[in-house]
Every structure is written in structure tokens, then in C-alpha cells.
Assembly symmetry: C2
Homo-oligomer: 332 residues x 2
């Protein structure tokens, strides 16, 4: 971990020793965060998947969000990218630009969140950098995972005729954000809590991603929105896709919200931040996928097909165009 | 490269396609910055060294510094960490939080700087994330390098009796920063340009680091300051060190500044940001090191010894204590 001055109140060396070094204690290559770089061993026949995501207070999260949840979401959005490649998480680096008045108890709670998810997803801190900023809290993580060489799930390999699947449910995150903004006051407590939880604490589908290696022909995680992300797969693969809008799996919370009004189905299927896996596979592998669904306990829903051509068409049960008027995710 | 909204003017997808994807074109594992993660192959018997450094406008650089130099310094401080491990650079990820009014020509110049140093140091962009911020421009890079497994240069392995060496010259960066702040108005133009250049564009000692593998017993790069960084080696290795202050290599610019006054020797030897390599080796390997100096064209200067005990003592020619009154680098 590079030490820098221009530091938060606590002093960077003390902060690293007290709060960050324990997060790296189990990973020998982290060198206790006391060297110039971390060392990552890669088993023969494996390669590394490496991804990074940054979040800024007031742009990607609210400054008064619970610090442990900010930490866990930061880690999870990166884990979701590893999941979309089929990689097994190994270690991550943390980059944090702290405003000078960041209280020590904020950092304590933030690192508790990291510790909880390190245990849940079997990943360790291996390095990073902490600096001071005159601006909003800015965080990034770089996550490293291992995958059999040449076997990573890609966006560019979907094939015509493949079935398009999505894990879990879609639209909860955009509903959760609407609830946090004060919309949908009539929504029941259970639905509100579910949606806010899904927004604040996505479930990266790491185990699913691993099991899709050798099975799925392509994969991506749903971060920009279902339609937008399937569009990325189509562009990369040189194909088109047709989604049947009634097939898109919605949670009971989203169905309740639709009945109530105040949010539209278009908002749900074009909203982002769900961090589910969107993937394709040939019909011949549907049986094998059913076994994966059973073993992971996840609902895996077929929502459409890869077709010749380009672009994503959304159709209703009668085959009529039902393409959302909005597409992609807007942060607050 | 993760795509995000809340984006700068240009649009993030367009910005990535126009300015960043070309930086990744030669690295197959970057997948054209169009997938969820980059793929890094590691040769048998090698492992990865991974490091990250962040910089914030107004803290680590001036907002009106030339964008190409900001880019190159960002890359170089990370390369310096790889050099200190003896690793060969492979690829890097870029994290950028841009203020919303960042002009496109700023980004163009910034990426030109990256391109120049990618060529100079044989490293490619393989991924990253660009987001918008309401605060100052905030940048980070995560650099990956390869090193023979188990052979990385560490801080924790200096041995009693080893000679302490430093590459190049020390103090130029702190002099350059003083010049930029308007100090030392009497300093000659040549000295001013040299010092400012050294501050803005450090020379990571990548080739030297590679050649020190199997030769040096420990290494660190000089970022916090000569005395502070040698202190890190001493703590990690459980030893002490004695530096002879008159041996510390100063550039003609620093010597001119000392004669002129306005900056003290203590400031030079305790200032940071020089990004030279500080390393230790047994006397029996001095001949081998001389060959490295010849082949790299670098001046490698013995400045002291590793001793039993703890802490760094700085002494003058008469053996009297000459420990700097200040230690470690303060940013503006």
C-alpha cells in the first residue's frame, strides 16, 4: 500500500495499520501492505481477470449512506464483473480519496463492511492507496480473479439461435432508488425494504458465473440496464436479440409497484444496477443449466433469443414492439 | 472498461472509443475495453506484481499542470513501484473521475501523454473506469508487472553489513516544487528547468529494478523521502542504517540551489517524489553492480550501510549526527 501524506486526520500510516492491514493479513502476497506492490501467484493453466470500478459520493451513492454498505457495494460491483467473466475472486486493491474531515468511526465501519464481504466472497485485500481530497469521497477497487486460460465468458461470443437468460430478478435496484428518493409512498414496507436492499447491496453471481464456464456462450452483468447490456452483447457478437417483455423476471416488490403505479415496466427493464448475470446458451444445454439452477438455488429465466441482424427488440406476447422509451441507467 | 453514466460532456462510451480504446489496441487481453474484465496471461514460473497509486488535483498536482505530464507522472509513479519489486511492466488499468466541465482537448492531451509513456515503457492500457465527479479531477492507475515467482525485490530482506545504494540524484523533485511555488528566484534557468522536469516527470528505474533481481537484497523507491523510505526498509527488515550525508548524490541544480540559499540540504535529503531506487546489497556483489551501472547508464551511489539495531542515522564526514530536522514529503 503506497503511503502518502496530505492525509486524513488519523494519519495514513496509522490508518493502514489499524484498519486496512488486518484485511490483508490472510493473503501472503499482500506483504502486509508494507511493500511497493502485491504479489499474485497464478496457477499453471490459469489466467487473471482484472476489473476496476469507481464510485463518487453524491454521484453513485449518497454521502450519508451507511459506510459498511458503501464498502460492500464497491466490492460487489467489482465481483459482479469477475462473475460475468466466470472468474474466481482472488484479491483486490482499494483506492480511497478521503475528505479531510472523514471521521475515524466512518473508516472503522467502512472496513467492517469490507471484512464482512471478504469473508462472504473469499477475497482478500492485497494493496491500495489512500489519499486526501478536497472533494467528495471517491472510492475504487481493482479486483483480480482466476480463470482457466482461454475459458473466460465473453460478450463477443453469443451465437444466433442461443437462448438469452437472466438470473434472479430485474428492476429491483431502480425501484429501490425510487424509494430512497421518496417516490412510491404507498408501497408496502416489505417491498420497500427488499428494493432498497437490492439497490444498496447487490448479489454478485460469482458462483453462477463460475458454473457457466463451458456452458454459456456469452455473459455480461446487468449494470447499465437489461436492454442496454444485452445491446452490448449484440454489438460485440455481431448479432441481434429479441426479448419477450412478459418473460423478464420481476420480483413481487416490482409487481406490487407496477400495480400501485408511480413506476413503469419500461423503467424496471431499462434500469441498471441489478448486477444479475445476463447470458446466452444453445438450446442443447438447457438441461445442464437446470442442474446449475438447482445447485446454486438461483432462478434462471429464459427471456428471449439471439437472432441474426443487430440491435435488441423487445416484444410483447402478441409480438408487438414493446421497446422501452428510456434505456440505460441514470444515477441521481 | 466499465461504462457508467453521470458522465463528462463527451459521453463516456464515445470518450472510451475515441481516446482510450486506441491505448488498449495492442493488448489482446484488454478485449478492446469492451468486456467486463481484462485477461492477463502469466507465463509459467512467473507471478504478478500489482500496485496502485491515486492523485488528486490540488493535492498531488496543480489543476493547470499540462495534462500530458499529469498522465505520464501518474503512470510513472506506478511504474516506479513495479521497478522497486524488480517486475517487468505488462499492463495497467486507469481510473478517472472527471469534473463535468472537463474539455475534450484536455482528455485528448492526457491520453497523448499516456500513449507516449506506453511506448517508452512498453506497457498497455487493459481496462479501467471513468466516472463524473463534482469534486477535483481524481486519477488512479493500477499497474501489473511480471516477475519470476519468489524473486521479487522486497523491503524486508536487507541484511546487516549490506551497502545502501541510491540511483540517480536526490532532492531534485523537492527543489522543482519549490521553484514552481516561486521560491529561489535567483536560480539559473538550466537548474530551474532540470528541477521542475524532475518533479513533473520522474524517471522510473524499471530497467535497473529488473537487473537488481538476484543482486540486491532489498529495494524501495524514493517517494516519501530518502530517510523516510530507508526507514521503511529498516523497519521491515528489522535492522538499522547509517547514511553518510556527504555521499548522498545531488544534482548540479541542487548544489547550485544550496550555494544560493533558500533551500537546505535537510530539505533535499528528506524531500520525496524522486522515484529513484534505494537498495541494499552485500559488498561481495559490488563488482556485479558496477556492470549494471555501466549497462543502464545510471549513476549508482553507495550512501551508507545496514547495521544492527533500528532506525536511520545520518552522519557527516566527522561522524557527527546530521539527521534532517524534517522528514518525509509534504505536498502543497
Amino acid at each position: 500500500m503506497a503511503e502518502r501524506q496530505s492525509r486524513p486526520n488519523l494519519g495514513e500510516f496509522a490508518m493502514i495499520a489499524r484498519y486496512f492491514a488486518p484485511l490483508a493479513a490472510k493473503f501472503p502476497g499482500a506483504l502486509n501492505l508494507k511493500d511497493d506492490a502485491a504479489l499474485i501467484a497464478v496457477s499453471p493453466g490459469r489466467e487473471l481477470a482484472v476489473t476496476t470500478d469507481a464510485i463518487v459520493a453524491g454521484v453513485h451513492f449518497l454521502p450519508d449512506d451507511p459506510p459498511d454498505l458503501i464498502a460492500r457495494k464497491l466490492l460487489r460491483v467489482n465481483l459482479s464483473d469477475l462473475a460475468a467473466m466466470g472468474a474466481t475472486p482472488l484479491a483486490y486493491l482499494l483506492i480511497a480519496a478521503f475528505p479531510k474531515n472523514t471521521p475515524e468511526d466512518w473508516i472503522a465501519a467502512f472496513t467492517e463492511g469490507l471484512a464482512a464481504d471478504q469473508a462472504a466472497f473469499r477475497i482478500d485485500l492485497c494493496g491500495g492507496d489512500t489519499v486526501a481530497t478536497t472533494g467528495p469521497l471517491t472510492l475504487a477497487a481493482t479486483a483480480l480473479g482466476a480463470i482457466d486460460a482461454g475459458k473466460a465468458l465473453r460478450r463477443s461470443t453469443a451465437g444466433e439461435g442461443d437462448i438469452v437468460y437472466v438470473s434472479g430478478s430485474i428492476g429491483d435496484a431502480v425501484l429501490g432508488l425510487a424509494v430512497l428518493r421518496g417516490s412510491l409512498p404507498g408501497l408496502g414496507t416489505g417491498a420497500r425494504d427488499w428494493a432498497v436492499g437490492r439497490y444498496r447491496l447487490p448479489q454478485p453471481r460469482v458462483e453462477l458465473g463460475r458454473r457457466l464456464v463451458g456452458l454459456a456462450t456469452s455473459a455480461i452483468d446487468v449494470s447499465d440496464g437489461l436492454v442496454a447490456d444485452l445491446g452490448h452483447v449484440c454489438v460485440a457478437s455481431g448479432v441481434g436479440a429479441v426479448i419477450e417483455v412478459d418473460s423478464v423476471p420481476l420480483s413481487p416488490a416490482c409487481r406490487e409497484a407496477l400495480v400501485l403505479g408511480g413506476i413503469a415496466r419500461d423503467d424496471l427493464i431499462s434500469g441498471g444496477d441489478d448486477y444479475e448475470l445476463l447470458f446466452t446458451l444453445p438450446a442443447a444445454r438447457v438441461e445442464a443449466l437446470a442442474a446449475v439452477a438447482r445447485e446454486t438455488g438461483l432462478i434462471l429465466t429464459p427471456i428471449g433469443r439471439i437472432v441474426a441482424g443487430s440491435g435488441v427488440s423487445v416484444v410483447d406476447a402478441g409480438g408487438r414492439d414493446a421497446t422501452p422509451r428510456t434505456s440505460g441507467f441514470r444515477h441521481f
